[in-house]
């Protein structure tokens, strides 16, 4: 039954403080994320669809913006304690309104850092950025003046960028009739873009490309796919998304005998790729480099025959570059005969035990040169980690928790839920869970290629992604461990993920960011 049709009153009964229950029930529902935005009312037992609606509903009795101004609440820090204070002490609106402004209002106590309601959306409401959603009032912070200046500056930058584009198109008529080798897309910047700049900048440096190139399992699989399927590549138009140093593009041209290769990359490494192509005497008319995001650039062709890309991140989906591949597929791939390489993936899970890894990462903090630092343990446990797990430390069978077919998938595939059953192979303890992914170059290929990032396969630069349990759990050989894994997009991080694992009658949450 679709919960969207439920009225608020009906929701009151079924909603618990555990939002994740509802999340699971709404598996079929496209608006899964909305369920996570549902927020318990601050001054009543009502449940509101989101925080903005909640504050709007209370507005006639409780004006949030005025309250924040009156009590000099400018920072998210103070706001968080205010919300937790209201959640735990449950003051009435009257009581709050009567509070005189003072240097140490009741919510300054540090205990109000503790979240009262798990995943309380009210805490994630950003009082610097989201307040203007409540109305036309905007908060004045000590940076208020700077904000205006910034806005003006950004506006000016946009105007200038538009002028540059106009000039470019006007003067192109007077230049030689050659397609430009480098096309940079000009786009106005928003918050996401700035975060993304940091992301792309990590690929500017040669070190990370060396790490990927030296991963022979990865690179040789791609090269083998090209070299063994020349008939598939010959005379085709190929699009290399995220070309890096350009190695795949050059291979498509040289070994695959492609008619044309278009290589796109947002990082600065593309300029080195151009120099490298020159050094290797690549035919410039057949190999075109374009600097920019695949979503923004203009290609010299309308459709391509083959899309090739190494887009996989830790846990397969970290970095969410899959979205860019889906975009390219929808926008540029020949619908009838187009190929995407690689095309078929699976994410797999098993449980492991390692005293060494557990001590090094989790237990370490209980005694650091004689001092207790357990507060840091919490953060270690809240993150997914990337490291090699030796095959002998795997203590259960594998279970596939996600299949992905790049021909048919959508952006929604980045969020998913999957049950798992792991059979215990060895009695003893479990330190946590380990995930890896498998990659297949299969559809319409003559010679199929496959590689795996499993602990039992030769190691790759992806290593494995592991999730530690807060304590060791005992298991018996032959026992089945059953549970559910939920992969969710990070609400604030464009390229991050949140992994929930429900197992052993508990719910564990991990960030990959």
């Amino acid at each position: 039954m679709s919960s969207i049709n439920k009225t608020e009153h009906q929701r009151n009964e079924s909603v618990s403080s555990d939002d994740e229950e509802n999340f699971l029930d709404d598996e079929q529902d496209e608006e899964q994320i909305n369920v996570l935005e549902q927020v318990q009312g601050l001054f009543s037992s009502d449940v509101f669809p989101n925080v903005v609606d909640m504050f709007r509903a209370y507005h006639s009795q409780f004006d949030l913006i005025d309250f924040l101004k009156k009590h000099q609440i400018h920072s998210q820090y103070d706001y968080i304690r205010l919300i937790n204070y209201i959640r735990s002490e449950k003051p009435s609106i009257e009581t709050l309104k009567q509070l005189k402004s003072s240097p140490s209002p009741p919510w300054t106590d540090e205990k109000y850092f503790e979240t009262v309601i798990d995943d309380d959306p009210a805490l994630q409401f950003d009082i610097e950025e989201d307040l203007n959603q409540l109305g036309d009032l905007s908060i004045t912070t000590t940076n208020g003046h700077d904000h205006d200046e910034l806005k003006q500056a950004n506006e000016r930058i946009r105007q200038l960028e538009d002028m540059v584009e106009t000039l470019k198109s006007m003067t192109s008529r007077f230049l030689d009739d050659q397609p430009s080798k480098v096309t940079t897309s000009v786009k106005t910047k928003n918050q996401d873009d700035v975060q993304d700049e940091g992301y792309f900048a990590t690929y500017n440096h040669y070190d990370i490309h060396k790490e990927m190139l030296q991963d022979t399992v990865r690179t040789e699989s791609y090269l083998e796919c090209i070299k063994s399927n020349v008939d598939v590549f010959r005379n085709k138009v190929v699009l290399d998304v995220g070309c890096g140093t350009g190695i795949l593009s050059m291979a498509c041209l040289k070994y695959g005998q492609a008619k044309m290769v278009i290589a796109v990359d947002m990082s600065d490494m593309i300029y080195d790729a151009m120099a490298i192509a020159k050094e290797n005497n690549m035919d410039e008319s057949k190999l075109v480099f374009i600097h920019g995001r695949i979503e923004d650039v203009t290609l010299p062709v309308e459709k391509v025959d083959i899309i090739i890309s190494e887009w996989m991140g830790y846990f397969l989906l970290f970095e969410c570059m899959l979205e860019s591949i889906i975009f390219a597929r929808n926008q540029y791939l020949d619908k009838e005969n187009g190929l995407v390489l690689p095309d078929d993936f699976s994410i797999n899970m098993s449980a492991f035990h390692s005293d060494r890894l557990y001590h090094e990462h989790v237990d370490y903090w209980s005694n650091v040169y004689g001092f207790e630092m357990n507060t840091i343990t919490k953060n270690i446990l809240a993150d997914g980690h990337v490291m090699i797990v030796p095959a002998e430390d795997i203590v259960t069978s594998d279970c596939c928790i996600k299949n992905l077919d790049v021909y048919t998938c959508s952006n929604d595939d980045i969020s998913f839920t999957h049950p798992f059953t792991l059979q215990v192979l060895k009695s003893g303890s479990i330190s946590g869970f380990v995930c890896h992914f498998d990659v297949n170059f299969s559809k319409n290929l003559i010679e199929k290629v496959h590689f795996s990032t499993s602990p039992r396969s030769p190691s790759t630069h992806w290593k494995q992604t592991i999730f530690f349990l807060p304590r060791l759990y005992s298991v018996q050989e032959g026992e089945d461990i059953q549970g559910k894994l939920i992969c969710q997009r990070h609400p604030h991080e464009k390229r991050g993920l949140i992994i929930h694992i429900h197992v052993f009658d508990s719910k564990f949450k991990f960030y990959l960011e």
Binding site: H74, S75, Q76, Y77, I80, F113, E128, T141, N143, D146, L150, A153, N154, K189, V194, Q195, E197, G198, Y199, A201, T202, N204, Y206, I208, E211, L213, T219, T245, I247, M250, A251, D268, D272, I276, E279, N280, Y314, F318, Y364, V368, Y369, G370, F371, E372, M373, N374, T375, I376, N379, A382, D383, H385, V386, M387, I388, H492, E493, R495, G496, L512
Partner: protein
Amino acid sequence: MNRPSDHVVQVKKIASFEPREQSMNIQNNHPVTNGSNELDYMSPENMTSKEYYLDSNAHFAVHEESLKDEIRTKTFRNAIINNRHLFKDKVVLDIGCGVGIFSLFAAKAGAKMVIAVEKSNVIEYAKRIIRANRYDKVIHIIKGRIEDIQLPEGIDKVDIIIAEWMGYCLFYDSIIQSVIYARDKFLNLHHHEKLLIEIHVYFVRLQQEHMFKPDGLIFPDRATMYMVGIEDRDYKEDKVEWWSTVYGYNMSCLKNYVMREPLVDNVDKRQICTDHFPLKTFDLKTMTVNDINIVTKFRLRALRNDYIHAFVTYFLVEFTACPQRTVINTAPGAGYTHWKHTVFYFPDYITIQQDEQLEGDFSCKVNLENTKKLDFAIDFQFNGKLSNLQSQNRYFMKG
């Protein structure tokens, strides 16, 4: 040569979106990184990679590496805990306290009060840790830049400054300027000595450093940067020459980048084929911000017949306040530290015979506004029996 640890690579990819190239655009679109209201009051758990990008010290993983560097942490611990007579009833200032480990040592050693200052959000962890270990009455935590903060009520001066200020190659991302600032503003000095230090700054550079030592102590207070020559054919092939053929493709244009950037990595002691030349010694008690650079001639003498493919610098810091000699020595062979060593490759190589000497000029310029920008120049001339080489090389670290 050992490879950089896996752990560091992991941190780079997942936890820290710290770009190698700083883009001016990004700084214009965001409030200033340090002291920004947004970041100031954000608990570390609520920070996303956007915030870590601006405040990379907040993520505890950065501190984990330093903490787990036993030579570094244990030497500080020994310098403090083994010298209770220096700490008893004193007021201590811990600059850049991170998770607060040195403050904890100082409190344990009997300090009357410890003021722990840290500008990044990691201080939220320090607060909890200090409370959990029941030192919150002794250790006072202040968030902010040392240049901006005020000492707690009733405290004018401090008796001891503790700061682990050393970065890669001593100065990369170092907080030495903050230590000098704190020394001049907060460290217990007799008035006339302070005046003399000011004169020292503005007029003649006087030789007798010992005349102007302040009363207060600095942990550590002396640092020397050394240089050696190493044989490194295999690793240089791997690092530099590797780009000549990559799966059959020539990527030589990237070799320049590799050689122009000093490499921070572990050097095996057995690769060293020359004596160790001390480039410069820094005395934290008397130096000024203008002294944060090195411009000097150097001379290296070969200890055996060998080849030289690169120069390596490392540093040694001393806690001269301790009666027993207490040092952190980061030389190859002295034990692993997270600072490792800094390798400067140059094109070609030298064939050198025992006792032959190589002379040159070494300079290291630190951008005081942004201590992640360092410029190096190593020019040298060698005329030996078996080879001659004249070489001028420029290097940079740029964060």
